[in-house]
Symmetry: C2
Subunit: 403 residues, 2 copies
């Protein structure tokens, strides 16, 4: 029978992060999605415009399409007079040509009639019968958008890796695309692990706690563009864990929410060694020490700490950057410098992530204990304390990383 | 036959924003959603904990549950010796009591056995047969989490209006909730409007353009927590617009993507006047002047400018704050001060939103024309130029509002 044993060797936090990022490939798989479903996805192809946008010369103001020369010299007291030939609304194809002395009423966005080379704004005109009075000269090209003024046929308009934001959606729509090729989202399976874990909604017997980690991780990684599958609760047995590992194929990440410590029942390390490869086990990090990282084939496997704050905190600092890298999503932590309201004591040799609540521009320590989810739910973000720092004095300037 | 006519009176941008916000109620309707679906929603109830978390006293480290007094005076060279009574794993209920001279192996998170008042970390012990050697004293309470150390029964743990972030999901799970009462999402219906509009994917005849605005608005407002319905394309006729207005009931917002200008075919103002109430028509804003705001019963109705940049820009500065207010979502624009790379000329009397691209920490003007979606797709955000400013000099410090 195996004994409890301490971690053989902890690796430092920076090393752990680097190893995880080095082991994170970027997504190569792509899929076609409807433009309506493409918000937040990442373009998997470069796009060359197959049409001009607009595909025709158009009026850029409501007014009258004229030959600019016909307006030269006009003033409010000595207006020019042009004969109204017709009206062109947006979406219409003009079936006449504007000759000198004539004009056509035109709506914003409507095609310019042949012959006309400028638009006089309606505000600078008046209409009586079919005579339009022009109060102000315009230069050739005034209030006219030329064909391809927005996008020219053949231009490389969007490049691989572009994040589909609202304006980018607009460009894709302008080009007439109703589907778009994007990178597939990282597929993540979460195995809530532990004999003590019960699903929210179920009865809680003595000694049991509700499954928290599968919910916090799914929420966080879902926002980061992952496609989530959450398994049923898995007990602490070799057989159950082996079954889970056998189900990892096809997923980019398999996350075990607990069972990565070194207690006798923390079997994950041994099962993973048998099924795949352990990359590291144990980080000199507080909270978050009992973290296991490995792989089975193409699947990155993480044994997360069972304690809710340790699990979620590590999800922010280790899983999130990895998933976003794989998803090809741009990202940086939102940071702000501020004053620390109260002294924080750390542990030499362990990198510490200390929860703080920001109030009135000051960082107040908010950490309770790694078993307490309220350590994070009441916090705004965290401050990092390097492994070689023993304490941070009240009044020091710290960098808050927002959750 | 109606004539084209200029806007009667433009209202200034700040007034328009204030009117829209004043007319935006906050959501009162609530709904129950599964905890797994609750990310990003807003809590509609205050929650008082119905259980203690944890519901039992537990070990906070892997090690041995002891009576602290039994460890006093122990050292690595003169260890104490305790008899191992049993093992307690997480999720088990201990069925024995620890008496002086005895101890129990305990896993992190497992219930403390009666009698024991501290845990000695496994690192400070060794085991031979059923004898545990203790190398270091512990004080009473060491590495023990008391019952309710995270959350106490009866505490108001979450308040109405809390945004459900990953840590908050964790609190809800910890309390055993598998469903949660949240505010309903604002319901938005978009009517792509205009005889010139064609759906992406369809054939584009001369004088036609693809529908851009329903895509950009849906993408933006979807991210802001709105529940979107996009109607089929509506032509520029009284009857079609009336039909649309009759379908607004039950929606919080009805957005017409075009048809708010004053061209002869821009009938929206008249139809809205008949069906409901026009609040304002025309903003002294560039781009974005031809914007119509009104209401039909409880539904806020917007006639958005037809031009893509005008429409999306107004969606950012007017619709987005309104929808987020209704959804009760906290929000502020992400802003940064930087140097303007090139002089920008504005128009006295009109508030201007000028697209800029941020490169190397400098804001480069990126505006093309309001008809061009590339004005925004190539930009990082916008700079505001107040109505009474004629130009902003190269090298000035400006505030960039990120999209």
């Amino acid at each position: 029978m195996k004994e409890m044993k301490p971690f053989r060797e902890l690796i430092d936090f920076e090393t752990a992060k680097r190893i995880v990022m080095d082991n994170t490939r970027v997504m190569e798989k792509t899929e076609k999605v409807a433009l309506r479903e493409s918000a937040g996805r990442v373009l998997a192809v470069s796009l060359r415009a197959k049409i001009d946008v607009p595909g025709f010369r158009r009026g850029a103001m409501d007014g009258y399409a004229v030959i600019a020369e016909d307006t030269f010299g006009t003033t409010r007291t000595a207006p020019g007079h042009l004969r109204l030939m017709g009206k062109i609304f947006a979406g219409m194809k003009p079936d006449f040509r504007v000759e000198s002395g004539n004009c056509a009423q035109i709506s914003t966005g409507a095609p310019m009639p042949d012959g006309a080379d400028a638009v006089v704004m309606v505000e600078e005109t008046s209409l009586a019968g079919d005579t339009v009075s022009i109060y102000k000269p315009v230069y050739p090209g005034a209030h006219v958008s030329k064909k391809d003024s927005d996008i020219s046929l053949g231009t490389e308009i969007l490049t691989v890796g572009t994040l589909i934001t609202p304006p980018i959606t607009g460009v894709l729509a302008a080009l007439g695309m109703d589907t778009v090729e994007v990178y597939s989202r990282p597929k993540v399976i979460i195995f809530p692990t532990g004999d003590e874990i019960v699903s929210p909604g179920d009865e809680l017997d003595y000694g049991k706690v509700y499954d928290i980690n599968s919910f916090t991780m799914a929420n966080l990684l879902g926002e980061a563009g992952a496609e989530l599958t959450v398994s049923g609760i898995t007990g602490d047995s070799m057989d159950e864990l082996k079954d889970c590992m056998d189900r990892c194929a096809g997923y980019d990440y398999a996350l075990f929410s607990g069972g990565s410590s070194v207690g006798e029942k923390d079997l994950l390390h041994d099962v993973l060694s048998g099924k795949g490869e352990v990359i590291f086990h144990g980080i000199a990090l507080k909270p978050g020490k009992p973290t296991l990282c490995g792989r089975i084939g193409e699947t990155l496997v993480f044994g997360m700490p069972g304690y809710p704050t340790s699990c979620l905190s590590n999800s922010y600092v280790i899983l999130l950057p990895s998933v976003r890298k794989m998803a090809r999503l741009p990202w940086k932590v939102r940071q702000e410098e501020m004053i620390l309201a109260r002294k924080v004591v750390s542990t030499i040799g362990r990198h510490q992530l200390f929860s703080v609540k920001v109030e009135d521009g000051v960082a107040h320590p908010a950490f309770k204990e790694s078993g307490a989810i309220t350590s994070m739910s009441l916090a705004s973000g965290y401050v990092e304390i390097p492994a070689n720092v023993e304490y941070v004095e009240e009044g020091s300037t710290v960098v808050v990383n927002y959750y």
